[in-house]
Amino acid sequence: MAAVTFENVSKTYDGKVSVVDNLNLRVKEGEFLSMLGPSGSGKTTCLMMLAGFETATSGEIYLGERPISRVAPQRRNIGMVFQNYALFPHMTVAENLAFPLRVRNISKADIAPKVKRALEMVELAHLGDRLPAQLSGGQQQRVAVARALVFDPNLVLMDEPLGALDKQLREQMQYEIKRIHDRLGLTVVYVTHDQSEALTMSDTVAIFNFGKIQQLATPDEIYETPCNSFVAQFIGENNMFSGTICERGDGVCKVRLANGDQVHALTVTDAPVGATTLLSLRPERIRIDPPAADGWTITTGEVIEQIYVGDHLRVLVRVFGGHEFVVKVQNRSAGNGLTPGQKIRLGWRASDCRALDAAAGQAGAA
């Protein structure tokens, strides 16, 4: 059963530009769905429409079976964690947590144990009497999560909740939020612009651009099989190079590059023969000195530079008469003997090279 359904939802602020453009989305019960995209891609607007702070220009949003366009935010029973936590500064932590219960006219006797349980869940039981300003950023974040959960909402929305934390704390909180989600079986819609956050936490990731969902898939599918050039460029690192389709076969195609070289690629785009295509190739899929095997594309290149990152080395290689490829090489032993100017053999599985639509980031590519 779907917990949330967006049905042909559009939103425009000025009648000209659609911030959200005819969006359809189903979030399953108990699912952790991330909305990921650059700023201005419509993800936050979607969240705000779901919370009730923005109204859709057209279309309908359902919470379960219930259309909620005409339901006021306070009647939606949706928990929300805000970007800057929005903890009420004049109330103690315990009062903040009691607030949603108090406005629901729950008796004092019932409020106290619920607040206690929520604080224990985020391991802050000893800080109930503090004011938010007396807490660290990470503690405030936990209180915000606890407050959004204390009234047992049907759905929890999180609007870049970890944006203000430093990296270490952010990773720890990602884990904690995920743990709470698993334990309580919550449905979570999570907005972020941090792709590693989306990939590590989510069951499903929706990649937003230009008010449309570019791809809706599990994190590994998003990374392994991006369906268009925007997703390929947005998620992770990619070597992108363009060419012309000169032959289309069964799932594979042959692409002629600018210097005349021809490479095989997995056909993702439905462009016809003769059309331009953008090829994408993950840096970690390129091998130096590859084994001669069927289905491999082999070429030669010239090492431009080598960058030491720690757990891996980034080798910049010039191939196909001008393209600069990044090749990630695992740091297995100190030094690999590559020097700038050196000619090397490179290779990759033809299926790792994906022929996508020509223009990166174009709307309607999905």
């Binding site: 919370a51 009730g52 702070f53 006021a72 935010p73 306070q74 009647r75 939606r76 029973n77 949706i78 928990g79 929300m80 805000f82 970007q83 800057n84 929005a86 903890l87 009420f88 500064p89 004049h90 607030f99 949603p100 406005v103 629901r104 407050r147 959004a148 009234f151 929305l157």
Partner: protein
């Protein structure tokens, strides 16, 4: 690295041995001293200006409220010999002789006025009494001054008058403060209320307080919704509206007050409108001006920006996500306002209310112009004593009481804001 490890590494770096530490400390102090000297130099001009233009006049007025120098200086011989008098019966012959000598000198040096006016405030008929007495001073008496003076005017045989003179001759006096509180010192030294026909200041103080409180209240009621609106609107619109708030602020106070006269008088715009609409009969036009009503309306208008500005600056700093969070947690918009928004605007409410109240307490021009008789405030009577009756001592006392009142209110507000002081912007 774990934070515990970092903490263990740190102390050795921070610990310096004796000589080195003293040197570092000395360098630190020297660098601090340079900073504080520069800061002092920057505020020095303002401090000098404030001391000369504000601190000094204030101190002068405050000392005037208690000082009695003039009287005692003119009658210096008398006050010296009166010091030995125990206050029972009439003073000795020496006192009368010294008094005659003092008066003669005062007549020659034309400083009689200072004695006359001070005595006249307290002793009915003192002016003519002194005039008559001075005329008798030319010839030496046969049986001493005491007999001659009492012969001239029986008042000189009244111990109460001498008690009064003894009191007035002291360098400091409480009579101005007593007068400012509608009290007086009776001849026997006890403090009593003045007669109801002379009691005006306490009434005026109370009126000033309630009018100021009412103006502050009205400004809050009118200003709060407007400030909320301004804080929520997009910057472009709110800037335009803020301009409209500030425009009257930049207009001359006199012009604004005068335009209220045009609007509020019996044949003014508002009354004519009400009559025309049939809400008020022609014979029963509302008296909106030259009374307390006029003072309230005009002062509220003049002081409104002082409420809106601190409110606006506080509200602007409250992110809209608080109210959104309250709504998402299930609070109705009304609950969200009362329990989440309003408590956070309290610093602005207090700052605005205090500012309006304090300004209103000392307001002078507007009540003078539109207040009529019943709309006069304490500052108007202070101005009267400064400019018309020239009783600067009483003016100083009234002003000091006003100052103390304002400081008390300020202290109270500071307590209310939890000792954080005011947030004006």
């Amino acid at each position: 690295m774990m934070s515990g490890t970092i903490a263990n590494v740190r102390p050795p770096a921070a610990q310096l041995d004796g000589a080195k530490r003293r040197q570092v400390l000395r360098q630190y102090r020297r660098s601090q001293r340079r900073d504080s000297l520069r800061a002092l130099a920057l505020v020095a001009p303002l401090c000098v200006f404030l001391a000369v233009m504000f601190g000094w006049p204030l101190a002068t007025m405050l000392t005037r409220a208690v000082s009695n120098d003039d009287f005692g200086a003119v009658l210096h011989r008398t006050s010296a010999s009166l010091a030995e008098w125990d206050g029972t019966g009439t003073p000795s012959e020496r006192v009368y002789a010294d008094f005659a000598a003092d008066l003669r000198q005062a007549r020659d040096e034309q400083t009689m006025g200072q004695v006359t006016s001070a005595l006249n405030f307290e002793w009915t008929g003192a002016r003519s009494l002194l005039m008559r007495t001075v005329r008798q001073l030319s010839s030496e008496p046969e049986n001493g001054w005491k007999e001659k003076l009492i012969e001239t005017a029986p008042d000189w045989g009244n111990p109460d008058l001498w008690i009064l003179i003894k009191r007035l001759a002291q360098p400091y006096t409480s009579r101005h403060f007593l007068a400012a509180l509608d009290l007086e010192q009776a001849a026997d030294g006890s403090i009593q209320g003045v007669g109801p026909e002379k009691a005006i200041y306490v009434t005026l103080f109370w009126r000033t307080l309630w009018v100021s409180a009412a103006v502050a209240g009205l400004c809050l009621v009118l200003g709060y919704p407007l400030a909320t609106l301004l804080a929520r609107l997009p910057l472009k619109t709110s800037n335009l509206l803020m301009m409209l708030v500030l425009l009257p602020f930049w207009t001359s106070l006199l012009v604004r007050t005068t335009s209220w006269m045009v609007l509020l008088q019996d044949n003014g715009v508002i009354n004519s409108m009400l009559v025309w609409l049939g809400l008020v009969s022609d014979g029963n036009r509302l008296s909106l001006i030259f009374n307390v009503t006029g003072t309230l309306i005009a002062m509220t208008h003049v002081l409104l920006p002082f409420m809106i500005l601190p409110l606006y600056s506080v509200m602007k700093s409250i992110p809209p996500s608080y109210v959104r969070a309250a709504l998402s947690l299930g609070a109705s918009p009304v609950t969200a306002f009362w329990q989440v928004y309003l408590p956070q605007t309290i610093p602005g409410v207090l700052a605005g209310t205090l500012m309006v109240f304090v300004l209103a307490v000392g307001y002078y021009i507007t009540p003078a112009l539109v207040g009529g008789q019943s709309g006069q405030l304490i500052s108007n009577i202070i101005a009267y004593h400064m400019q018309q009756s020239l009783n600067w001592g009483l003016a100083g006392a009234l002003g000091s009481l006003l100052l103390v009142g304002v400081l008390l209110v300020y202290w109270l507000f500071n307590r209310l804001t939890g000792g954080q002081g005011l947030r004006m912007g």
